[in-house]
């Protein structure tokens, strides 16, 4: 625990954001790996935030540590520090305040129970004094956030939910102190501190939901490296700021590095991890003439690029800008709890003031009138109201989490419940985003065995798909030798004394004399050819998620006619939309998707966008609410309000139904909270409310609201 004090004086502490932390094994591997790096004095992973804190000697630079982590197998970036801690600080302050209020209210309640059960005279006074001793400091500490916020609102001549709370608590405490000092029968310390406790519980749950909502557009651009290696006209290599690279300059990208500019490959054959852009985890091969985008990772071999765009002109920067402007409309959304409080605060003020004046006019005296007005303030305390929304949302989001749906934004459930139109992206959303062979598979004796033997020899995505597909049939690979892979063309080998090729159509067909057995070439694919023998054109297609048809049918049953929007060709989209039985919009560019959503929303619709790729980013941001599969690109994950895990599409209708049930429970909770007030307020105005009744009413309504929300535990169905 005191390891830090044993460290030499020059120990520095650096924090890194780490990609690819998934399990306990990763934690152990990264911590052990770092500990064995010379100069590192300790490393601790925070799995919740996906960060690692490293204590190290001054001789180690952040870049060295990043390099060390890359060798261990993790991509890490120096974490700049203080941002995003605002929400966390708030959550923690609320938690501590909640603990203090809980402690004080329990102890005060113990004393109050003895008073209610008939303590008299000096004992009652002693207990009142003890209550005051516990409650007043606790109220001062736990109520700070309410007092400060109410004071700010009053300074600007406005009113908010905190004003009646602050006034109620302060007046109640003051009046109870006066009663205690004069030996009166009723002190409301228990009511005041309990009120704070319930309100803080609501605030805390709310801040837990809110803290999840983070706008990560800036995070996206941080993935693009700041510096690139520039190749001068004389062939010399020097480091240069990525944003200042001019189109036409030549850039060298080492294997394992993130690419800093958009460009065209001049020389080098490598593969590129485009997960940031497409969400596709399989590496994509690139060869001279191919385009690469800033932010993607060059995997296997060094590449020389001719830059086409840098800094603010890159595709990824464009997308980030579009997302930022699209997100602005959403931040104007007013959450239901805030809407309720706008109506609530003035009503409570005037009710309490009216009962004070009413009793004064009726000749009750200032003291009694004030007591009654305070009872009204306590009884109308919005604690059940403050709990109504957050407790329902927290319970529902837990249930959804267990069903594999992650809510990133606190108000997402509210918005999801209002949706009346669904747009689905095709690739990776309705489909799995991975290719499977669908036609032209060789079935002659011995051919499947040959195919799997060739396919296993390569890491090309099509080969991997073929190996997986044939492997499912338990075929034993044939014996082949002289296996040779040519990047960009395919694999050749010798089988039974004949040459065989698997790869690009024209290249593979070169050794064949016979006409192709199957010639369909409408689909992407490759050719298997046997010297002097058969030629097979194997076509690949993306596969629908296994339950896509049912999920879309369920959405329709929920009154949500879905629509397919895709950048793919008309043929492919027509096929998918025919199978799903919905309308399909082919050849939709990112801007056109955004435009479609805008048009629908201007027409009064509220759109749910489900998409995954970089090109869906702006649409995901512009839609009323958005979902993305967890396999989505970083962009998709950042832009979406909800993420779902797994191969199924069912989470989309499940989330919609859970959101609608949540809002139904929220409305019921409002009705319960307001119903309680409607019953109790006349009693308070009539002057019949004692501290006992106030405490029962308050905790009773809060407990019922919580119990009602707990029904949502099974909401994710």
């Amino acid at each position: 625990m005191t390891a830090a004090t044993l460290d030499p004086a020059d120990t520095l502490r650096s924090e890194f954001a780490v990609e690819g932390l998934r399990c306990a094994n990763c934690i152990a591997r990264l911590e052990h790996g770092l500990a064995s790096v010379p100069g590192v004095r300790g490393a601790r992973v925070n799995f919740t935030t996906r960060r690692v804190a490293v204590r190290h000697g001054a001789e180690l630079e952040a870049a060295d540590l990043c390099e060390a982590m890359r060798r261990i197998g993790f991509e890490a970036h120096l974490f700049a520090g203080t941002e995003a801690t605002q929400d966390k600080r708030e959550s923690r302050a609320l938690m501590l305040a909640l603990a203090v209020a809980g402690f004080a209210s329990m102890n005060v309640m113990l004393l109050s129970v003895s008073v209610w059960s008939g303590a008299e005279g000096p004992t009652r006074d002693l207990f009142h004094w003890l209550s005051a001793l516990i409650a007043i400091p606790a109220i001062a500490y736990a109520g700070r956030s309410f007092f400060i916020s109410a004071w700010r609102a009053l300074q600007y001549g406005r009113t908010n939910m905190d004003v009646p709370i602050a006034i109620g608590v302060v007046l109640t405490t003051a009046m109870s102190l006066y009663e205690t000092a004069t030996g009166g029968p009723h002190a409301y310390f228990d009511g005041a501190i309990m009120l704070l406790f319930f309100l803080l519980a609501g605030r805390f749950l709310d801040s837990v939901m809110r803290a999840r909502a983070q706008d990560g557009v800036a995070q996206l651009l941080r993935l693009v490296p700041k510096d690139v290696m520039l190749i001068g006209p004389d062939g010399s290599v020097r480091s240069h700021a990525a944003a200042l690279v001019e189109p036409g300059m030549r850039v060298l990208v080492a294997a394992g590095e993130r690419i800093g500019v958009d460009g065209i490959v001049q020389s080098g054959c490598s593969s590129v991890d485009r997960a940031l852009v497409t969400g596709e985890s399989a590496p994509e091969p690139v060869e001279p003439g191919g385009r690469v985008l800033a932010g993607t990772i060059n995997l296997t071999a060094p590449l020389t690029l001719r830059a086409t765009a840098a800094g603010p002109d890159t595709v990824i920067a464009d997308i980030a800008r579009l997302m930022e402007s699209a997100g602005q409309s959403r931040s104007r959304y007013v959450r239901i709890a805030d809407r309720a409080s706008r109506l609530y605060a003035p009503a409570v003020h005037s009710l309490a003031a009216l009962s004070f004046l009413g009793w004064l006019v009726a000749g009750a005296g200032v003291h009694q009138s004030a007591m009654i007005a305070i009872a009204v303030l306590i009884i109308t305390c919005p604690c059940a109201l403050g709990l109504a929304v957050p407790i329902a949302q927290v319970v529902a989001s837990r249930a959804l989490m267990r069903a594999g749906i992650l809510i990133k934004d606190g108000s997402a459930l509210e918005r999801l419940a209002e949706v009346d139109e669904v747009l689905l992206d095709k690739t990776g959303t309705v489909t799995l985003g991975s290719l499977i062979p669908v036609e032209g598979m060789p079935e002659l004796p011995g051919e499947p065995a040959l195919l799997i033997a060739l396919a296993q020899a390569s890491r090309h995505p099509l080969s991997v798909a073929l190996a997986r597909s044939v492997g499912e049939r338990n075929v034993t690979p044939a014996l082949i030798d002289e296996v040779e892979e040519t990047p960009g063309l395919g694999i050749r080998a010798r089988w039974d004394g004949r040459e065989v090729r698997l790869g690009r159509d024209d290249w593979a067909r070169g050794i064949a004399s016979a006409t192709p057995v199957s010639t369909a070439a409408t689909l992407a694919g490759c050719t298997l050819a046997i010297e002097g023998g058969a030629v097979h054109r194997i076509g690949f297609a993306d596969r629908l998620r296994p339950d896509a048809v049912e999920a879309v049918a369920r959405l329709r049953a929920q009154g949500l006619p879905a629509m397919l929007v895709s950048g793919d060709s008309a043929v492919v989209v027509a096929e998918a939309s025919r199978r799903l039985g919905i309308l399909g919009l082919p050849r939709t560019s990112p801007a056109a998707k955004h435009e479609t959503i805008d048009r629908l929303q201007r027409g009064g619709h509220r759109v749910l966008m489900v998409g995954d790729g970089l090109n869906d980013g702006p649409a995901l941001k512009a839609a009323h609410v958005s979902m993305a599969p967890a396999s989505a690109s970083d962009v998709g994950q950042l832009a979406a309000d909800l993420l779902f895990f797994g191969d199924r599409l069912a989470p989309v209708p499940i989330a919609v139904s859970a959101a609608r049930r949540t809002m139904r429970v929220v409305r019921q909770n409002f009705a319960i909270a307001i119903g309680y007030n409607v019953l109790a307020v006349p009693l308070a105005i009539a002057g019949l409310v004692t501290p006992l009744i106030a405490a029962l009413a308050m905790s009773g309504s809060s407990l019922i609201v919580v119990a009602n929300a707990l029904r949502l535990r099974g909401a994710a169905r």
Binding site: A28, M95, F103, T123
Partner: protein, 51 residues
């Protein structure tokens, strides 16, 4: 009355003890990484602890 005079301070002291330990736990970062704590139990050998 004597019993009460003894029991009330004891009850308060115990409550304060609980509150103080909660404050300590929150300030010393016990609630910082709840997901990680759930996973760390699965690691066979823990490297020496961090402050």
């Amino acid at each position: 009355m004597n019993g009460v005079a003894l029991l009330i301070p004891i009850a308060l002291a115990l409550g304060l003890l609980g509150l103080a330990s909660f404050f300590w736990a929150a300030r010393s970062g016990q609630f910082e990484d709840l997901d990680g704590a759930a996973l760390r139990i699965l690691i066979d050998e823990e490297p020496e602890s961090w402050d």
